[in-house]
């Protein structure tokens, strides 16, 4: 999981999804996750996944990277499939697709939305301590990632992480984590001092959302509503023959058109 790359994508992307406001994208994500939860049909889940790949194409970021980041839960989905194996390959496919589709939804959200915007949207429903904790965790994350990177490099250069000396490696790595923790505390203390000077009294003020609903917002919300409506419709009128397969064919055509369109625009 490359947190720094995700943050870079979220802050430097130039697509309609990047321009859309965080609440619209959160609504889109919630609708797609709800579709994943209610859908048990393999082809329909595959159609949703392919639709999301189209969305990933529209972000104008590296689609391969996005799909790779979102593929991480597949490892654990395989474990879950093995543990709950009942002899049905279709059920195994459904579990795998549920994991991949939900993860891809969340990854599309975070590669197009800076974390602070997501937290700002969640502020009305979260207690103050959790909201502020989310902000400060996000801030500390990049400091610690850099420190951990330096630590690993330093350990390797000084022979602290060597092959076949596992016990010594664990001891050195643990001491390194302890060092990162203490350094992090020191930085936190300084940061706390700065916050105090700037009038921090236990609540971090967040910018208000602009409140304007743009065409980009409409496109994001409409995509979510479309996916959810199709899932709900097929779940409700499950008797429609091969409906999931038809949805998959439509999603595949949209994907091809999206690739062609973005490639043409790129040229």
């Amino acid at each position: 999981m490359d947190v720094a790359l995700i943050d870079y994508y979220a802050n430097h992307g130039k697509s309609f999804l990047h321009s859309a406001a965080a609440p619209s994208k959160l609504l889109f994500s919630a609708l797609v996750i709800a579709s994943v939860v209610i859908t048990e049909e393999f082809y329909l889940l595959l159609a949703i996944y392919v639709s999301l790949v189209s969305m990933a194409v529209w972000t104008r970021l590296s689609v391969t990277k996005i799909i790779t980041i979102a593929a991480y839960p597949a490892i654990f989905a395989i474990l879950f499939v093995i543990v709950t194996w009942d002899g049905s390959l279709l059920r195994a496919g459904v579990i795998m697709l549920k994991a991949l589709t939900a993860a891809l939804t969340m990854v599309i959200l975070i590669v197009t939305t800076p974390y602070p915007d997501v937290f700002k949207t969640l502020k009305p429903i979260l207690p103050g301590i959790i909201h502020d904790g989310l902000y400060l965790t996000y801030r500390s994350l990049f400091v610690l990632l850099e420190m951990t990177d330096e630590l690993v490099k330093g350990l390797k250069v000084r022979g602290g992480l060597t092959k076949k000396k596992y016990l010594r490696n664990i001891a050195n790595f643990s001491s390194g984590i302890g060092l990162v923790l203490i350094k992090g505390f020191d930085i936190t203390e300084k940061y706390y001092g700065v916050m105090k000077v700037r009038g921090y009294t236990g609540k971090i003020a967040a910018d208000k959302n602009s409140g304007r609903f743009s065409t980009d917002d409409l496109r994001a919300v409409a995509s979510g509503i479309l996916i959810f409506s199709v899932s709900l419709g097929i779940k409700h009128y499950g008797s429609i023959d091969k409906s999931g397969l038809y949805a998959l064919i439509v999603a595949a055509i949209i994907l091809i058109l999206s690739i062609v369109y973005t490639a043409k625009e790129g040229n």
Partner: protein, 236 residues
């Protein structure tokens, strides 16, 4: 690594809701308990510990795809209430990376939160039993026991995910109720799956428990050597 990497939409709705409800109640209780603390100083600490947990969770230990949680370290340094809040924050952020479903954040917080809370109290107990010079051993053993207990909670969650609660209630009311062939077959399969899971988990996770125990012990020993004031916060 005792948390649930289960995708959205796989666990039954009642279980997911129960997880969120349980987390909401526990969070409300924790927030109530930490009100008396000087939170302006504690919130940045939550940030740094949560960030450290996320960094460690994103470092898989090859070839086992295992990662350490440092939840017991969080419990020992932040105290149980703040650690529980910190774990909710961690679960919410990693779910946004697709690291476990967003709908299972509630259940994950209960599972990992129990690790931190149990770890804190077990650490205090072992420290009293073993003396002040054994913070490393006390925290290491506390971490191993907490992980075993939290994995038991995880197994219970998975077991509950397979059991239709209506069926359980009916069976309790009428022990000789006739089940359909499909139900019987399904229960037998599920029973086998849970057995397989428990055996697999014990074999694979035992290594993880030991590793997390060793790392926790060494981290706490290192921190207590340099900044002993960070160990044992205000009891919350």
């Amino acid at each position: 690594m005792s948390h649930l990497h289960i995708p959205d939409g796989v666990l039954p709705g009642w279980l997911v809701l129960a997880g969120w409800l349980c987390t909401a109640v526990l969070l409300a209780f924790c927030i109530y308990r930490v009100k008396r603390l000087e939170l302006t100083r504690k919130i940045p600490l939550i940030g740094i510990i949560s960030a450290l947990m996320i960094v460690c969770m994103t470092l898989p230990i090859i070839p086992f795809a295992y990662h350490v949680n440092l939840s017991v370290v969080a419990g020992i340094i932040l105290g149980p209430a703040l650690a529980f809040i910190s774990i909710f924050i961690v679960d919410l952020i990693i779910a946004m990376f697709g690291h476990g479903g967003i709908t299972v954040v509630g259940l994950n917080t209960v599972v990992i939160g129990s690790e931190a809370v149990l770890g804190y109290y077990l650490f205090l107990m072992f420290k009293i039993l073993m003396g002040n010079y054994s913070v490393g051993w006390s925290s290491g053993i506390a971490a191993v026991i907490s992980l075993i207990l939290s994995t038991s909670i995880l197994v219970l969650v998975l077991y509950a995910a397979h059991v239709n609660p209506d069926l359980v209630i009916d069976t309790e009311k009428e022990p000789h109720i006739e089940s359909t062939t499909h139900e019987t077959e399904s229960n037998v399969k599920n029973g086998l799956s849970i057995n397989v899971f428990v055996k697999t988990a014990l074999a694979l996770l035992a290594f993880g428990w030991m590793l997390e125990g060793v790392i926790t012990g060494l981290v706490i020993k290192y921190v207590s050597g340099i900044r002993p004031d960070l160990i044992e916060p205000d009891t919350t």
